[in-house]
Amino acid sequence: MSDDVRTLEIDHISKRYRQTVAVDDLTFEIHAGEVFGFVGRNGAGKTTTMRIVLGVLGADAGEVRFDGRPLDFATRRRIGYMPEERGLYPKMHVAEQLTYLGELHGMTGADARAAARSWLERFGLADRRDAELQALSLGNQQRVQLAAALVFGPDVLVLDEPFAGLDPVAVDVMADVLRERADAGVPVIFSSHELELVERLCDRVGIIERGHMVACGTVDELRAGGLERRWIDVPAAPDPWEADVPGVRLLRTDGTRRLFELDPGVDDQALLQAGLATGAVREFERVEPTLGEIFRNVIDEAAA
């Protein structure tokens, strides 16, 4: 199957709860084979968007399409979903529960049992197969919840905060699984507040603020819109020292090291010259903003 089909398209969806606008004319898409990171502050509209994709909530306007067609009930059954509100049957045995969910998604009993077993092994829960869910630790319940989203071999993955509450080992397993599913041609979207993880794992990132998509693209593309920064270590410079170069602003001082931000088009060599004018320059480093920094900038701009 080629890459331009099997795309999940969110097309101008809007949703309001009485006076509050949760999602406002939101448009983006997730391509086959792509891991899409969905970030935003609490209440920005991430969960509402995912619920609309799953059809658990109805949108006031707009449409969600997969493979070029509006999502219907049959297509939605093929979406692996991990809701923000975790929930499984507390008294049902772990493997039995996964098998049940697999069958509800249209698997045969035998296939569902085999899939449940292999996912439990993958998440290191093979020995808890016949335990009641409520007997498991919260972290392990979370792993079962992930297995529930994966057990039937979904065509699309929509995961709301899948990494919250996982230990580092489980985070690695989960990250591998998402990559592997995407490589198999599945569009993957997940929300997270752990921006380092998003930066490391995602092909593209969407930043949502008050129901609007305020930035969307690869991390490099998001950086391209931002400002250049340089660390410069000038031990002989007076304190304070602000370089006095047009278009260059001091952001932070750390001992004798200083972080400057350069306006677009400003030559960083001017900053280096100013440094050398004070004496020796021990360090001159170009720093790329982290996703966290991009995120804060974008949110500040949106608020402005």
Binding site: L54, G55, L57
Partner: protein
């Protein structure tokens, strides 16, 4: 693995209703509360029947001792007592004083002394009126015989007045009606219990928050229908176990005659029970869909409970005139039909169009209620924590 225990779910894809029903059955059969409750109910019912048979055994028959000349009355007394419906045992007493001591001690109920034509009865604190009448009749026969009447003349002189009924009770005997009524009441109580189980079960998915996953996979009406069917089958199993134990206990202790209900009448009762169960279970599911926490279920389902009690009371109001307008109309309406039509059919000959109409209306309302319950459930699923007003839930703006 026990997943194969129902013989399903191997290499076939099963409809979601079947999957949901199967899960309900498995989970309940595994639950200690359900298994323990069934065992306890069975024990209580059997113990109750055995206790009733022991108590009933004490009151029968009345022991009557005859001494001296009155012993000539024994044969006629026994015959009269039987005719009057009193069970008696006749004992010869040699010594009047010893006999009185037995009456005081309670080992003898009545002591008859004196001659056959002028007997005297001695009892402890009371004497059954039919025993007293039987004794009086026996003494009267003895006096007539003493006066020279032939046995034939005595019989004709003492013949009972014939009674002619202008409106005899229907061909179906009272025993049938009683059995049907008793069965109806037991099933009606069971209905309430299983209806509540359905209501609790409907909230389960919301309370455990699993419904957000489920709603993306299964339509709410199918989820609810699967629940109603699963819990209904478990309920039937429980009823069969407890009812079967009760029947065996009754047969073993002989405490009451097991009414010989015809196969057709039993099948009709089962059919009406199933329709009643489906109607009320779906109604319980619909109102339970409005709430999202277990502790809110009781107040939400209260109106259905009241409707059920109203239907039950209607039986007593309508029963004296099973073909009257009140009974006829109410027995066609779905909330009342399952019990009222069943009782009417046991009591009188109901035109078959009425039976068919009542069954069709009930079935149609079950389908309608399932649709309604699914709609309410789907519309309220994402509004956790608050009880949703009915009209909001129905219109669907509860989503917002």
């Amino acid at each position: 693995m026990n997943a194969r225990s129902f013989g399903l779910g191997g290499t076939r894809r099963l409809p979601s209703i079947v999957l949901v029903a199967r899960r309900e059955i498995r989970m309940r059969l595994r639950s200690r509360v359900f298994v323990g409750g069934t065992i306890l109910m069975t024990i209580l019912v059997v113990v109750g029947i055995v206790a009733a048979s022991l108590l009933a055994g004490k009151t029968n028959p009345v022991r009557v001792g005859f001494s001296g000349g009155s012993q000539a009355l024994e044969a006629t007394f026994t015959a009269s007592a039987t005719a009057l419906g009193a069970k008696v045992t006749v004992i010869d007493i040699a010594d009047v004083t010893a006999g009185e001591a037995q009456v005081t001690a309670g080992t003898l109920d009545v002591l008859v002394t004196g001659s056959a034509t002028a007997p005297t009865a001695v009892a402890k604190s009371a004497m059954a009126s039919n025993v007293e009448s039987a004794l009086s009749l026996a003494a009267e026969a003895a006096r007539l015989s003493d006066a020279g009447l032939s046995p034939v003349a005595i019989a004709s002189a003492m013949a009972l007045v014939p009674v002619q009924l202008l409106q005899p009770p229907s061909a179906k005997d009272n025993e049938n009606l009683f059995a049907s009524l008793a069965l109806g009441i037991v099933l009606w109580i069971a209905l309430g219990q299983y209806g509540n189980m359905v209501a609790q079960g409907v909230v389960e998915e919301k309370a455990t928050r699993i419904m957000e996953i489920l709603l993306a996979t299964i339509r709410p009406s199918r989820l609810l229908a699967g629940k109603v069917i699963g819990i209904g089958l478990v309920g039937l199993l429980q009823l069969t176990i407890v009812g079967g134990a009760a029947l065996i206990a009754v047969a073993a202790t002989n405490v009451a005659p097991i009414p010989a209900l015809g196969v057709a009448s039993i099948l009709m009762d089962i059919l009406w029970f199933l329709l009643g169960f489906l109607f009320y279970a779906t109604a319980y599911a619909a109102v339970a869909s409005l709430v999202s926490r277990q502790e809110e279920v009781q107040s939400a389902v209260a109106p259905i409970g009241i409707l059920q009690i109203a239907a039950y009371l209607l039986v007593y109001v309508a029963l004296p005139n099973p073909s009257g307008p009140l009974a006829t109309v109410c027995s066609l309406l779905p909330p009342f039909a399952p019990i009222l039509m069943a009782v009417r059919m046991a009591d009188t000959d109901v035109p078959s169009w009425q039976v068919g109409l009542a069954a069709a209306l009930t079935l149609a309302s079950i389908v309608g209620l399932t649709w309604l319950a699914g709609r309410i459930y789907g519309n309220t699923a994402m509004r956790l924590g608050t009880r949703v007003r009915f009209m909001d839930a129905f219109r669907g703006n509860a989503r917002g």
